[in-house]
């Protein structure tokens, strides 16, 4: 689960990290009022709160000037104008796709005047099976490039979840980042806060980028991103409450409610598969035969009529879809029951595009018979003998 920048920074602050003051606003007037509180004789920074990254280098759509999702505003008037523009125009970044995303929430942030920027992150190292804390004295946008070209500049420390970040680990990282003895305790606090939030709240990623050394010698979290383990939300009601469903894909939310794992893609061939691995493999074979998958959809281990109906509705609500491939390996679940579920779904939903079904496993023969009997009633429903044939057929029918 993702959260907004301001939520991530507030979690880190609660764990002991220093952050610049900010006020969450949802209108130009609120932004102007926040300017009065935070400008302190200088300016403020207005920052769009959307889940997509690359806000600073992004662009408001249908907006005449160059303006992204982050803007320094030296005056009250500009603060209000920028806030209003952001709330009115969609924001396109390298992570949003060309249509951009709407901006519903902003923060107005005290200007921290960064003098130097650092990078901190905590993430699971799958190979080691341990959380890894990473730090780099060169923060900001180009961290991936630094990692590729100068991996030795990325300092790394494993953190055992049962002990947390040990004092000497934080101290060592702080000194090796080049901080002075007077700065080190501030950095240690932030490192411990990062590790604490990651471990105590079951994060999968916690990133501070940049960590800023300000002109007046303070060290603050300028921007932060934290993703959480969906599987652990049951024990973190405080985190689950931060979910902003408006930022998520409505089809994906609807799928999640039906216990379907659905991710919308750009192609034309819808997929309905049981199991994540088989679903990915099904997309692969569609592409192999010249098609483009419109989605990833895993209906889980078995297929119920209700699940199939909702799955078809979700797939078909994507206007790009010109054909559907159903690939189900009936293991413990019997194919004949699955076939009946598919027929029932066809009756309920109405198949406006060709639906190619490949069913294999327990009672597959009986299943094919059920589908054949429904052929008159559901003329777009086709069966295929095997996976390769099914993929080729759906690609052909969707042209």
């Amino acid at each position: 689960m993702k959260i907004h920048e301001y939520q991530a920074k507030e979690l880190l602050a609660a764990a002991g990290a220093a952050i610049p003051q900010h006020i969450v606003v949802r209108s130009g007037a609120e932004a102007a009022a926040a300017f009065d509180v935070l400008s302190n004789g200088g300016g403020v920074v207005v920052k769009a709160q959307v889940y997509a990254g690359g806000r600073g280098a992004g662009q408001l759509l249908d907006y005449p000037d160059k303006l992204g999702g982050v803007k320094f505003c030296p005056t009250r008037e500009l603060t209000q104008a920028v806030a209003e523009a952001m709330l009115r125009h969609r924001l396109r970044t390298r992570q949003t796709g060309p249509e951009g995303v709407p901006i519903r929430t902003l923060i107005v942030q005290a200007d921290a005047q960064p003098d130097r920027e650092y990078y901190l992150a905590m993430v699971l190292d799958r190979a080691a099976g341990l959380p890894l804390l990473m730090a780099c004295a060169e923060g900001g946008m180009e961290i991936e490039e630094i990692a590729a070209r100068h991996p030795e500049k990325i300092l790394k420390t494993y953190v055992a979840p049962e002990t947390g970040l040990l004092p000497f680990q934080a101290r060592r990282l702080a000194y090796e980042l080049g901080f002075t003895p007077a700065q080190v305790p501030q950095v240690e606090n932030i490192l411990h806060a990062l590790a604490r939030v990651f471990l105590q709240k079951d994060a999968t990623l916690a990133e501070i980028n940049p960590l800023a050394l300000t002109r007046n010698g303070q060290i603050v979290v300028l921007d932060a991103k934290i993703d959480f383990d969906d599987n652990a939300l049951f024990r973190h009601p405080d985190i689950a409450a931060l979910r902003d469903v408006q930022e998520e894909n409505p089809l994906e939310i609807r799928a999640a409610q039906a216990h379907l794992n659905y991710i919308q893609l750009d192609g034309t061939i819808g997929c309905l598969v049981n199991g994540a691995g088989l679903a990915m493999a099904t997309m692969d074979i569609i592409k192999y035969y010249g098609g483009q998958p419109a989605n990833f959809l895993d209906v889980g281990g078995s297929v119920t009529p209700e699940g199939a109906i909702e799955a078809f509705r979700i797939i078909l609500s994507d206007a790009k879809v010109r054909g559907i491939l159903v690939n189900v390996f009936g293991g413990i679940a019997r194919c004949d029951l699955i076939a009946e579920a598919l027929v029932q779904a066809g009756r309920e939903v109405g198949f406006r595009v060709p639906v190619v079904v490949r069913l294999e496993g327990t009672n597959a023969e009986k299943a094919r018979q059920i589908l054949a009997e429904a052929a008159n009633e559901l003329p777009t429903l086709k069966t295929a003998a095997d996976l390769a044939a099914a993929a080729q057929l759906v690609v052909e029918l969707s042209r």
Binding site: P161, N231, G275
Partner: protein, 304 residues
């Protein structure tokens, strides 16, 4: 021959009185697995009865008690996510040496803690979690895979060892092998979670040392660098015919790990790098999921 489980393996189910635990224990009993008991705290002293098999098993409050009373050495874990890590540690602590964790949705940091707990118990092997389980066809099935698609080896015959991160994709592969007349020695689903109990490398080693395994099929997915490590291991140590398939060549985006993911793995974890590594290590890589069985056949014939 086989790895890890055979007809003599004595198995319990943790969470046996739950819906899934009951159904799949029953299915395993019907397949012929030697289940000897179950554990559900608070239900100790009662008797579980398989709805289809009709077999009865004693239920215990603790794994320790189950081990003492039944001599079980393997456990199938169907405990729900919130208690699954604790159940795995309980099994390890009680002397179970093979733990097959079917449970899906265990928090990843719980698994990190489990793995660290297990470092002090080198005799314990964990398969999973979030996996279909392990099967030695005709002898022992501990998991949720459909047994009938598998083909046992005839006495003295060697079979294909299967290692997979996926569930239904594994059934697809096994189904293809069976259709091609290729029996399987043992099939292991290691699960799709970020921190699996047993890695592909460890299973490559076990299959490599198993005289009952004639070839190995590795079914991977995008993400992480486990397949790259498996390829590196195989190139150096394995001399048996090798085949592979990597799912996710049309990777679903949107599940990014930010900057940090790319930094850590040193590569994208993408299908291309995995396929390249496997090909270079001598694997026959299937171009599509419809050709996994054929890839094994090619690997076997290439050797001759």
């Amino acid at each position: 021959m086989s790895i890890l489980v055979d007809a003599t393996t004595r198995v319990i189910c943790q969470g046996i009185t739950g819906k899934a635990g009951t159904f799949h224990t029953d299915q395993c009993l019907l397949y012929g697995t030697q289940f000897v008991g179950g554990v559900t705290p608070g239900r100790g002293g009662t008797t579980w009865r398989g709805p289809q098999s009709g077999k009865e098993l004693p239920v215990f409050n603790t794994v320790a008690e189950a081990v003492r009373q039944t001599g079980a050495t393997a456990s199938m874990v169907f405990v729900p996510p919130a208690g699954a890590a604790d159940a795995i540690m309980e099994a390890a602590d009680a002397g179970i040496t093979l733990i097959v964790a079917i449970t899906e949705g265990i928090p990843v940091l719980d698994m990190v803690r489990v793995k660290r707990f297990l470092t002090s118990k080198p005799q314990v092997r964990l398969i999973g979690p979030n996996c279909p389980g392990i099967i030695t066809p005709g002898q022992c099935k501990i998991g949720i895979m459909p047994g009938y698609i598998h083909t046992p080896c005839a006495p003295g015959q060697a079979g294909v060892g299967v290692i997979s991160r996926s569930g239904t994709l594994t059934y697809e592969a096994v189904f293809q092998l069976t259709r091609l007349g290729l029996p399987q020695s043992t099939c292991v689903g290691i699960g799709g979670d970020p921190v699996p109990g047993t890695t592909q490398v460890e299973l490559l080693e076990l299959f490599n040392n198993d005289p009952g395994t004639s070839a190995i099929l590795l079914i991977g997915e995008i993400g992480g660098d486990a397949e790259e490590r498996a390829a590196a291991y195989a190139a150096q140590h394995v001399r048996k015919p090798l085949a592979a398939f990597i799912a996710g060549q049309t990777a679903p985006p949107g599940r990014r790990m930010g900057h940090a993911g790319a930094i850590i793995s040193g590569s994208s974890g993408g299908a291309a790098s995995k396929i390249a590594a496997l090909t270079q290590a001598g694997f026959e890589v299937a171009a599509t999921p419809a050709e996994m069985g054929l890839a094994v056949q090619r690997a076997l014939s290439r050797q001759r």
